[in-house]
């Protein structure tokens, strides 16, 4: 082998090293010292896959840190991160490639709560140019307080045409309060939805900016 051949070979090996993922560079610094090494390697691999797939990694890191903070086993942490990555991907497919990271995180919560990907797609259809973060987060939250998924989806979709984010929050609080008072989640949601849509129609008619569920005198 000539010197030139040897040099070419060394360059090729060096290029191979450059082309391979840098195991050090791929590590998420915030996980350092929070996870056992073996667990961290697995989580870093999942983060790398998510990054390559164009998914936000911040929620995945948060989930791993939550598990670490709560003293969960490494197996459980890895499983939680893997599951969330799958939900983020499903949410992205449903909400569009342009969906922002916070929208995807909210979408993943909604999917976890029981919403279907089609529900997220429909919501995107109603609000193509607006952030879905709060609407989807409220959807996830409504399901979490006991509203059946189909009912919660229907409510969020009904409000999608006229409600802004603050309206969604106020709506969700009203439902939660009624449920706490003993109303069934479905009844509470129905009542609040009637009130919100009635006022929203008035808002559209009058161009006013009143919050549908703002406190008022009894």
């Amino acid at each position: 082998m000539t010197m030139l051949q040897r040099m070419c070979g060394m360059v090729g090996i060096a290029a191979l090293f450059v082309a391979l993922p840098d195991p050090v560079g791929a590590q998420e610094p915030r996980l350092q010292g929070r996870l056992q090494d073996a667990v961290r390697v697995e989580v870093d691999a999942l983060l790398l896959q998510a990054r390559e797939a164009g998914l936000p990694t911040e929620p995945l890191v948060d989930r791993a840190l939550e598990g670490a903070s709560k003293g969960a086993s490494g197996e459980r942490i890895v499983a939680a991160v893997r599951r969330l990555a799958g939900e983020l991907e499903t949410a992205r497919d449903a909400m569009g490639q342009r969906a922002r990271p916070e929208e995807l995180a909210a979408g993943a919560s909604a999917l976890r709560a029981g919403a279907a990907p089609e529900d997220l797609s429909r919501l995107r259809g109603y609000r193509p140019d607006q952030s879905l973060t709060v609407a989807v987060a409220v959807l996830a939250d409504l399901v979490a307080v006991g509203v059946p998924v189909d009912t919660a989806v229907a409510a969020v979709l009904v409000l999608a045409g006229a409600a802004d984010d603050a309206d969604y929050i106020a709506f969700r609080r009203s439902v939660e309060r009624d449920v706490a008072l003993g109303a069934s989640p479905v009844a509470a949601l129905g009542v609040r939805l009637d009130a919100a849509t009635a006022v929203a129609e008035g808002i559209l008619d009058q161009g006013a900016g009143r919050t549908p569920t703002a406190p008022r005198k009894p």
Partner: protein, 384 residues
């Protein structure tokens, strides 16, 4: 929504399920009328007029009662309600006695711009009582139907109580656990009735804890009754009472003043120490949160958003969540029960837990609690 009047009706119904019994048959009619300032949970404060007629009949073994109510608010909206109740007691078996009772009621919040379904309830209860004429204890269980519009729930109430009475005062306490729909909670209540020469003072207080969807917190209220001239009594009251999801009562703070006219009474009053006021106090409803931490959002700032925690008796409050990389962050004390921390929060959904005095990580009231994937609960905080 149900109003103060409904709660009064509930109390009256509860008073039909007494600890003791009338020595002779007695029928009493009364009419309460007055004004109040009330602030229901979720509503602004408002003035109100109320009118509550009551009719009850007691014998040594039977109690029957009816109460109606009409509360008119400043807005012109009003609450109508009606409640009926009855109780039958077995003859004493030594120091034991059993009681079967039932009550039913409906209330309607009549407003001009919102379709609000009626609340209602039908409840049956069994109770065993052990004691003498001066003190006793009881255990009870109740169930039935509570409805709100077209939907209904089957509440279950399990309660224990004890009381003691002397010539001029009576005190009691009870613990009641309630399950209804998705909610459950534990109410601890204490009550006092004191009869002086020319007035009667009754009060009750308590707290709700171990709550899942039923709210939590402390409450207290008191009423002063001053007989002016027969048959008129001036009644002044105030305080805070808790929600009662079973009977559709919305929690509120109030002050009220009115008169009670008792146009007829067919027999002397019941034994003063175990009369209706004491029984009403002993049976009366629950409260709101005592000591349970509650989270709320403060204002937005360039450096982030304030998160507030209100909790009684804490010396250290920590918060951890997505926005702290799940590192515990100590909150700053604002006053005796308020704690604050400023964190960077954009619109979105966040997961968090708090820790009081180094205890376990918990989910405060005010956010939705869901199962995390690590064997505990985590709160979901939605930021608009």
């Amino acid at each position: 929504m149900s109003g103060r009047g409904v709660r009064a009706a509930v109390a009256a119904a509860a008073s039909l399920l007494p600890l003791g019994q009338a020595a002779v048959a007695q029928t009493v009619g009364a009419l309460d009328a007055g004004v109040s300032a009330v602030e229901y949970e979720g509503y602004l404060a408002s003035g109100a007029l109320f009118l509550n007629p009551t009719l009850r009949h007691d014998t040594p073994s039977l109690s029957l009662g009816l109460q109606g109510g009409w509360v008119v608010f400043e807005s012109g909206n009003h609450v109508l309600h009606g409640t009926g109740a009855g109780a039958w007691r077995t003859p004493p078996l030594g120091r034991w006695r059993a009681e079967v009772s039932g009550s039913g009621g409906v209330s309607s919040y009549v407003v001009t711009d919102t379709a609000f379904p009626a609340y209602g309830h039908v409840l049956g209860r069994v109770r065993t009582h052990y004691g003498t004429g001066r003190s006793g204890a009881w255990a009870a269980a109740a169930t039935g139907h509570s409805f709100f519009g077209d939907t209904s729930a089957t509440p279950v109430e399990i309660s224990l109580g004890a009381w003691t009475a002397r010539a001029r005062f009576a005190v009691g306490g009870s613990i009641k656990h309630t399950w209804i729909a998705d909610s459950s909670y534990l109410d601890v209540t204490a009550s006092l009735r004191w009869i002086y020469e020319w007035f009667e003072l009754s009060g009750s207080g308590g707290f709700r804890t171990a709550s899942r969807g039923g709210g939590s917190g402390a409450w207290a209220e008191a009423a002063l009754q001053i007989p002016v001239w027969r048959p008129v009594t001036v009644v002044i009251g105030g305080g805070r009472y808790p929600s009662d999801p079973v009977r559709g009562v919305l929690g509120a703070s109030y002050v009220s003043a009115g008169i009670r006219i008792t146009p007829f009474r067919t027999a002397p009053p019941l034994h003063p120490a175990i009369g209706s006021a004491y029984r009403r106090a002993l049976e009366s409803r629950p409260r709101e949160s005592a000591g349970a931490p509650r989270i709320s959002l403060g204002g937005s700032h360039t450096q982030g958003r304030d998160i507030l925690i209100e909790v009684d008796g804490a010396t250290r409050v920590e918060l951890a969540g997505d926005f702290t990389d799940w590192e515990p962050r100590a909150m700053e004390r604002e006053d005796a029960r308020s704690w604050r921390i400023r964190v960077p929060l954009g619109p979105g959904i966040y997961r968090l837990n708090i820790r009081i005095d180094g205890g376990r990580w918990i989910v405060p009231a005010g956010v939705t609690s869901v199962e995390d994937e690590f064997g505990s609960q985590v709160g979901l905080l939605v930021i608009p």
